[in-house]
Symmetry: none
Subunit: 244 residues, 2 copies
Amino acid sequence: MSIRVVLVDPNHPGNIGAVARAMKNMGLSELHLVRPKAFPHAEATARASGADDVLDAARVHEEFDDAIADCGFVVGTSARKRYMSFDLVEPRECAQLVAEAAQVGNVAIVFGSEKYGLLNVELSRCHRLVTIPTAGDYASLNLGMAVQVIAYEIMLATRAGAPAMPPPEVPFATAREMELLYEHFERVLEEIDFRDRTGGGHLMARIRRLFNRSRLDQNEMNILRGILTAVQSRRRTAGKTASS
Amino acid sequence: MSIRVVLVDPNHPGNIGAVARAMKNMGLSELHLVRPKAFPHAEATARASGADDVLDAARVHEEFDDAIADCGFVVGTSARKRYMSFDLVEPRECAQLVAEAAQVGNVAIVFGSEKYGLLNVELSRCHRLVTIPTAGDYASLNLGMAVQVIAYEIMLATRAGAPAMPPPEVPFATAREMELLYEHFERVLEEIDFRDRTGGGHLMARIRRLFNRSRLDQNEMNILRGILTAVQSRRRTAGKTASS
């Protein structure tokens, strides 16, 4: 079972330490950092308070895509109550999905920077968005606190004795494979001269959301790529006939 | 409903601030401090990060008994897996008990000092002991984190009604529209001569599962139908050119 925590652009090294401690308490050990402002750092070590092993093993990336490339299920976190057409889930439901997905592939839980959260380009890689419910208007969980709540729910969902979800039969498509699908899709849309009528060029963003939400497995990925290729080759054949 | 958080002998003012923030996020406002080492304190205010009102209203006591005197239900927190003959409950069950008790009287959730936890004399006042489950041997939740997890469970247990998720902004596609989509999809697959390689003619069943899972909204439905039509019309145009 591989469930990683990915922090994108974390600004305060103390928070990285607090996250490591929260993770270790709940049995998570894989920490990925994308462009941390300061790491390693004495404050991170101080706040980790015994979870130094998690910090020591942390992997640092320059690109977000590298941190999730081999993951079949990517969950983004958001403090917003609404987020476009995303299916927002709460931590408890999210933990069930994570427990299920972790049986067949790598899972990433992604947290944005303290100030801005996740950006659209990062959200476009996520299969689900999780939001921690809060009371009233004050919704300002510290980064470490947010990791703590989500890791706590994941621990409850995955510990021995927790109701076991049946594992999916076929592995999920990886984040890298999803990117290749979208590139292919975009090429085909150009080739068939499909006009973006969404206003503002949101077509690919919407297509991404639609398929991300669906969490494609490997078979479905093969079917979709096959259909795209069929559309292309028929058009090429037709084109050839036309010009011959 | 009155649910208070009582910190006994808190040693680090930063933790008091983190506790205030965690409380406010989860709708708790009554903070009681028994012999805080340093309070008020700039570090508490800094870590409270907008929950200053909780800090300002905090009540300071010299005696633990004064902090809980008017409470009908007192829950102690413990990191130990077993504690004497106490009924240990986990946060989820604890939150149910708290929600129930809060309807008829004041409730106190009591946290001991960062170093020693609650002492026997304090434990002797508690009706229940709650312990936050952890994974493996590392059980060292920061004080603020522990309050966050328990306050989170209390919020879930006491909020109005079922988990209220915001309604989607765009209506979902109807079952009828989904059927029209699948018919259209199937026609296009025939026109592009896409061969079913799933064995046993399961192609359309798999496509259905994929899109059903995604729960399409009306906008997405329009995009997909548009793409299918574009594939067809380009093929027809190409075909016409070929045969003309």
